[in-house]
């Protein structure tokens, strides 16, 4: 097992993150125990970030303790792995517009306690202006104005 990024481990063709909440799965991923530590497999067909890493992403600026604004968090598949990486000292502010996806995200958030669900439109950042400045913004919104949304949020947070 090789740590390729802070908190991301590679075994053969698969990558893993340390499970923040041992024993529980988020989206039916495989669990794997090595030297008493439980890891969760990070499926590249379910998460774009995993696919990017497996395709040779050179830098991953997410560290243990990072504070992240995640636009378009959806049901928290990718976010759960980021949550594993940043650990209990880090925090994700997860913005999602679809109430249906929020319903899936809230139980994940309740368990992990480092993902903050925010039901709001990323185009209207004023709606969640109470959040703090973040170290990093992760954007995955399916919107033609994705870049404008990113820039506006980057200016605010």
């Amino acid at each position: 097992m090789k740590e390729i990024f802070n908190g991301v481990f590679r075994v053969g063709k698969n990558i893993y993150t340390k499970n923040l909440t041992p024993g529980s799965r988020v989206y039916g991923e495989k669990l794997f125990v090595s030297a008493g530590v439980e890891y969760r497999e990070w499926d590249p067909t379910r998460s774009k970030l995993s696919a990017a890493i497996l395709n040779g992403l050179t830098t991953l600026p997410i560290r243990s303790g990072s504070v992240i604004l995640y636009l378009g968090i959806s049901a928290g598949t990718t976010a759960s792995h980021i949550s594993d990486i940043i650990g209990k000292d880090g925090l994700i502010y997860g913005v999602e517009f679809a109430e249906r996806m929020m319903r899936e995200l809230i139980p994940v958030s309740e368990k992990r306690k480092n993902i903050i669900p925010i039901l709001a439109d990323a185009r209207k950042a004023e709606e969640y202006s109470w959040i703090e400045k973040t170290d990093l913004i992760y954007v995955d919104v399916a919107d033609p104005q994705e870049m404008e949304i990113f820039i506006r949020n980057a200016k605010m947070f």
Partner: protein, 325 residues
């Protein structure tokens, strides 16, 4: 001199022009309390506690707090550890989101679900019936009846010899075991038919209740299907009449948009199932569809925003339809 004031999840803060902290009031680390701070205006007492400054609530102060909330939360003793702050903020986020999500879940969503269930059930009942026909047809191919009657007869009598009016048949003779399973299958279809009726009744009642205006113009079952296609009453209320007119005809519409010269635009989508359009003479159906859609557009807006019943809508529509003839 100005005191810049802001609210934050941990309390109220005032800074001077250079960004120095002038005054603050923390709340207890309780998400409910924090929600109150964020949603209510800053209390007068807080403004009054700042003496010798002109007070102003602004983004300058909000920026400072969003930069330093961690710092202040720890140094002013709101929480003891960063982890505690994370947990507090998470519970706050969950609380806000749950409150907001509640507003999204409205009665029209029940109709949407029931209506798509009914659509699926109808398709499945048809397949079930086809299977039964093929199956029982091996035994008694001469039996020709309406779908529902067919199923009922098979469930009731089983073997062809038991059926009223049976003379001869070219089918296969069945054993007790063969007919038992067919009988159970047909009673299962019967219960699906029963469920279908209940669903229809429920949808009719619920749609009439939630959308009195839409259902004054079209059949409640059709209204429910339109609602299901739109996704919710809110979305339907925001649609233009042309969108409503073509709901369900998206494929034809885009075929037309791709190749405008060869393919004519569709005249109607789901609303074609309205009797007035179906029975209209050639050349009038499109016009009726247009009128109907425009009234539906208004009805959806009234149903969503006020919910009051407007009998005038239906009269207007009938007058307008009468005029084209």
């Amino acid at each position: 001199m100005i005191a810049h004031i802001t609210k934050s999840p941990i309390g109220w803060f005032a800074f001077d022009d250079s960004g120095e902290l002038l005054y603050y009031q923390l709340i207890r680390p309780d998400p409910e309390e924090a929600l109150g701070v964020l949603t209510k205006p800053i209390p007068k007492t807080f403004f009054n506690s700042i003496k010798g400054y002109e007070t102003k609530e602004d983004g300058f102060a909000r920026d400072i707090i969003s930069n330093r909330i961690r710092e202040y939360a720890l140094s002013l003793g709101f929480v003891e550890t960063p982890r505690e702050l994370n947990e507090f903020l998470t519970s706050l986020g969950i609380l806000i989101t749950k409150k907001k999500a509640k507003k999204f879940i409205t009665k029209d969503k029940l109709i949407v679900q029931a209506s798509s269930t009914l659509d699926d059930l109808n398709k499945q009942i048809n397949t079930f019936f086809e299977h039964l026909c093929e199956w029982y047809g091996l035994h008694y191919p001469e039996l020709k009846l309406d779908n529902e009657k067919y199923v009922k007869q098979v469930a009731q009598y089983g073997l062809r010899e038991e059926m009223p009016g049976f003379k001869t048949s070219s089918g296969l003779a069945l054993s007790e075991r063969d007919i038992e399973i067919i009988k159970s299958y047909s009673s299962f279809i019967l219960s699906a038919l029963q469920l279908k009726k209940e669903l229809e009744k429920y949808i009719k009642e619920a749609t009439r209740e939630t959308c009195p205006n839409i259902t004054s113009l079209i059949e409640p079952l059709l209204a429910a299907r339109i609602l299901a296609l739109a996704g919710s009453l809110e979305r339907l209320a925001r649609m233009s009449s042309s969108t409503i007119q073509l709901l369900g005809a998206e494929k034809a519409l885009f075929r037309h948009l791709k190749n405008k010269k060869k393919v004519k635009p569709p005249k109607y989508g789901l609303i074609f199932f309205d009797k007035r359009i179906q029975n209209a003479p050639k050349g009038e159906a499109g016009k009726i569809a247009r009128i109907l859609a425009s009234k539906l557009m208004m009805a959806a807006k009234i149903d969503y925003y006020s919910g009051r019943f407007e009998p005038k809508l239906k009269d207007d529509m009938e007058k307008e339809i009468g005029r084209i003839k």
